[in-house]
């Protein structure tokens, strides 16, 4: 990397004078990392609940096995691995797009910033849409929050994650509007970095949820 690019990065990462702390780090970045740390514990409780109740449902529909009710109604395995794999890939790509957008903000490349921030938002919206479709499909198939332990723990875990993704999309749309107005400058790139950190966290949570919920039988 060139000396000029290093200088630009250092400038973009230096805390604003009114946000500096005795640690020498920006208070806003400290706050977002502390928040992310607390979110780790929140999702750990939801993931452990899902794991503890895994395979303990007395009635179907089940995630990976077919089931016939005492009344003779047949239920196929409910999880749609292919659809969720596409959603997972898009969420991963969105993480790539948002760091490229941040790179654009730090280097004052407006086109790069707007293009990749827009792509990130589109990936996020697709993921939320995928989850809405999945939930609707499950309800039509007979799996609701109150149907069995799988339904209760699945909807709670993935529902809270989906809510976080939705919040992230709203935050990124706000940043996109600010970028359109020319307010995401290299000096203010940290505002986008905070949103990007939250977005990456939402992504790493899904990196854990995807194998635990969808791929492990």
């Amino acid at each position: 990397m060139s000396h000029a690019a290093h200088a630009l990065d250092a400038h973009a990462m230096a805390p604003a004078a009114d946000h500096a702390t005795t640690t020498g780090l920006d208070s806003r970045k400290m706050a977002i990392w502390t928040f992310i740390g607390s979110e780790c514990l929140f999702f750990a409780s939801l993931i452990s609940t899902y794991l503890v109740y895994r395979g303990k449902s007395l009635v179907g529909p089940f995630p990976h096995e077919a089931w016939t009710s005492p009344a003779g109604q047949h239920f196929e395995p409910i999880l749609e691995i292919k659809l969720v794999t596409v959603g997972t890939a898009l969420l991963l790509f969105s993480s790539l797009f948002v760091v490229i957008a941040l790179n654009g903000a730090q280097r004052n490349r407006r086109g790069q910033l707007l293009t990749f921030l827009g792509l990130t938002i589109m990936c996020g919206i697709f993921f939320v849409g995928m989850q809405v479709y999945e939930f609707t499909h499950f309800v039509h198939e007979g799996l609701k929050l109150q149907t069995n332990l799988f339904g209760a723990s699945f909807f709670t875990l993935t529902g809270f994650h989906g809510t976080h993704v939705t919040m992230g999309v709203i935050w990124l749309i706000t940043m996109f509007i600010l970028a359109l107005r020319g307010k995401v400058t290299p000096e203010k790139a940290l505002n986008l970095e905070l949103a990007a950190l939250y977005w990456h966290f939402v992504d790493v949570v899904w990196i854990v949820i995807f194998p635990v919920v969808y791929l492990m039988k």
């Binding site: 990397m1 690019a5 290093h6 990065d9 250092a10 990462m13 230096a14 004078a17 009114d18 500096a20 702390t21 005795t22 640690t23 020498g24 780090l25 400290m30 990392w33 502390t34 992310i36 740390g37 607390s38 780790c40 514990l41 999702f43 750990a44 409780s45 993931i47 452990s48 609940t49 794991l51 503890v52 303990k56 990976h64 691995i81 794999t85 997972t88 890939a89 991963l92 790509f93 993480s95 790539l96 948002v98 760091v99 490229i100 941040l102 790179n103 730090q106 990007a196 950190l197 990456h200 992504d203 790493v204 990196i207 854990v208 995807f210 194998p211 635990v212 791929l215 492990m216 039988k217």
Partner: protein, 123 residues
């Protein structure tokens, strides 16, 4: 203001420049390959477990998926969340709760496994 300027200067000494787009794309490709590997492990380990590679993979599907997931998690945290370049204090703020989270998950699974085993024993 001078103190603030000093702090800002100290910050640049603590933090290093973020990686370039080339590194981000490489990490993106690795993440995509790891995700494809996860789905392949699921497909072979469960749906083609009768013979060949699938039969070999079947007993280790869960550990392999956990390792692949941990690799993806670490790559995103290190390169996209910039923990590799940023101050170690940020890493501590993330890793310490992560350790507690892992302990909570393992402890709860162990506790409930014991509970279910005990229930089975007395009935």
């Amino acid at each position: 203001m001078t103190a603030h300027a000093d702090i800002a200067h100290g910050e640049t000494a603590h933090e290093h420049a973020h990686p370039g787009i080339g590194t981000y794309v490489k990490i993106g490709v690795i993440l995509f390959v790891l995700t494809a590997a996860e789905v392949a492990v699921y497909e072979f380990g469960y749906n083609h477990a009768g013979a060949g590679f699938g039969a070999l993979l079947h007993p280790v599907v869960i550990p392999v998926l956990l390792v692949l997931s941990a690799l993806k998690f670490a790559l995103v945290a290190m390169f996209y969340m910039h923990l590799k370049q940023d101050s170690r204090l940020f890493s501590s703020l993330f890793v310490f709760p992560l350790i507690i989270a892992a302990v909570v998950i393992v402890a709860l699974i162990a506790l409930f496994a014991y509970h279910y085993a005990f229930q089975k024993l007395i009935h």
